[in-house]
């Protein structure tokens, strides 16, 4: 767990003001809200937001759009992984059937 101080020290270009604004906007959600304690994922997310704004030159109002899309992708990816893992548990012939159905739904082409 990282305190507010730790995370600011850890992430280049992160300032107290920036961090507090982001938390207020809900872009970063401290692992422990009461203690304002952050995790490694929060730190990495702060790096990402700094990246988006500073390196890539996105405007501040673009950031929530990007974060929302990124979060949706990870939500979808996580569920897809879950589905794939569940399929792995099925007997081979059932997996083959599922595969076939997926392919036929795609209309055979990619």
């Amino acid at each position: 767990m990282l305190s507010e101080r730790d995370i600011i020290a850890r992430v280049q270009h992160l300032t107290v003001t920036r961090l507090r604004v982001w938390v207020k906007q809900g872009w970063i959600k401290p692992v422990d809200e009461a203690a304002q304690a952050f995790s490694e994922a929060d730190a990495a997310r702060a790096v990402l937001i700094c990246n988006l704004e500073d390196q890539l030159g996105f405007a501040e109002e673009d950031v929530p759009v990007l974060l929302s899309l990124i979060d949706q992708i990870h939500g979808l990816r996580s569920e897809l992984m879950g589905v794939l893992a569940a399929l792995e548990d099925l007997p081979p012939d059932v997996r083959a059937t599922v595969r076939m159905r997926i392919e036929s739904r795609r209309g055979g082409g990619r």
Partner: protein
């Protein structure tokens, strides 16, 4: 040895600092790993592009590079850990959004409610270590009308136990019903698996199905076709009278609204396909009539045929 930073960014050695930043941002927006989760190629390119920009995007470093004081790979930064490395894990669960799933319930009656629950709740992560029981698979053959109207039935399992299955109205051939917790028992505190029951629907001699519509072929007599009238027609809800319009033809379809399958998506219709059947024996009266009629009422149903082929 890293590539020449100018060519990596696709700019001339004489490019202005603004142009270099522009070129870098254009590439970086396309390649940023967090905008391309799962794409290794993009990640490699992004690293190159960023390394290149680290040198020529910095005036002092660019000057040193131009003077040959440092080489293109000179300034290896400590490795950055990207957000995406956390996003899929337990720690990232808080951020994962279920907004992409809101319409999946409409897409799949059976599985729609499964998705998107893990995201906001953050209850994932440990899941892979749980010892949930395996899902059990069964096949169940149901009569056409049971599939159409829905029913309750009981499966006897190989071990002698029974399983009550509710067949929802409008179930289709090949559809899989998931019975929560009716699969193999879990280990320890793990939940039992689910029972997956694949439905196969026996065909019906009279009724066919197309989506939520029921299709029935109904033979009518020659005189019914000419004069119209009411004929009794079987529907999945019992017999009803359908009105045959004057001058009906084989292949013509009548629609009985709301006489199809009532499913979640709405109620289908019954489609009555008419089939004009001549009497088994053509008697003299009919022959005489036809001959007289032909003289004054000749018509050519094959005109279009000749025109088109």
């Amino acid at each position: 040895m890293a590539d020449d930073p100018y060519s990596v960014l696709g700019v001339a050695k004489t490019a202005s600092a603004t142009d270099i930043t522009k070129a870098y941002r254009k590439l970086a927006k396309k390649l940023h790993p967090d905008l391309n989760p799962g794409d290794k190629v993009a990640e490699e390119k992004f690293k190159k592009v960023t390394a290149a920009y680290d040198i020529v995007g910095d005036e002092a470093k660019r000057a040193r590079y131009d003077r040959g004081e440092i080489d293109a790979s000179g300034q290896e930064k400590p490795q950055q850990r990207y957000y995406r490395e956390y996003a899929g894990g337990e720690d990232g669960a808080r951020y994962r959004s279920a907004a992409g799933f809101e319409d999946i319930g409409e897409f799949s009656d059976l599985f729609g409610d499964l998705f998107g629950r893990g995201g906001a709740a953050g209850a994932r992560g440990g899941a892979r270590f749980s010892m949930r029981g395996q899902d059990a698979q069964y096949r169940l053959e149901v009569d056409f009308l049971d599939a159409v109207k829905g029913t309750k039935t009981r499966i006897t399992l190989p071990d002698g136990e029974t399983l009550d299955v509710t067949i929802p109205a409008g179930v289709t051939d090949g559809q899989v019903l998931r019975l929560k917790g009716k699969g193999h028992p879990g280990l320890g505190e793990g939940e039992p698996g689910d029972a997956l029951v694949e439905i196969s629907v026996r065909p019906h001699p009279v009724f066919k199905r197309e989506g939520d519509d029921i299709i029935v072929e109904v033979p009518i007599t020659f005189d019914e076709a000419v004069l119209g009238g009411k004929v009794e027609v079987p529907t999945i809800g019992g017999r009803v009278f359908a009105t045959i319009p004057v001058g009906s033809n084989t292949g013509q379809t009548l629609r009985l609204k709301g006489r199809g399958i009532k499913s979640k998506s709405g109620t289908g219709d019954q489609l009555v396909k008419l089939n004009v059947v001549m009497p088994e024996r053509i008697d003299d009266e009919l022959k005489d009539f036809a001959e007289t009629w032909r003289k004054s009422h000749a018509y050519d149903p094959r005109r279009k045929l000749k025109e088109q082929a």
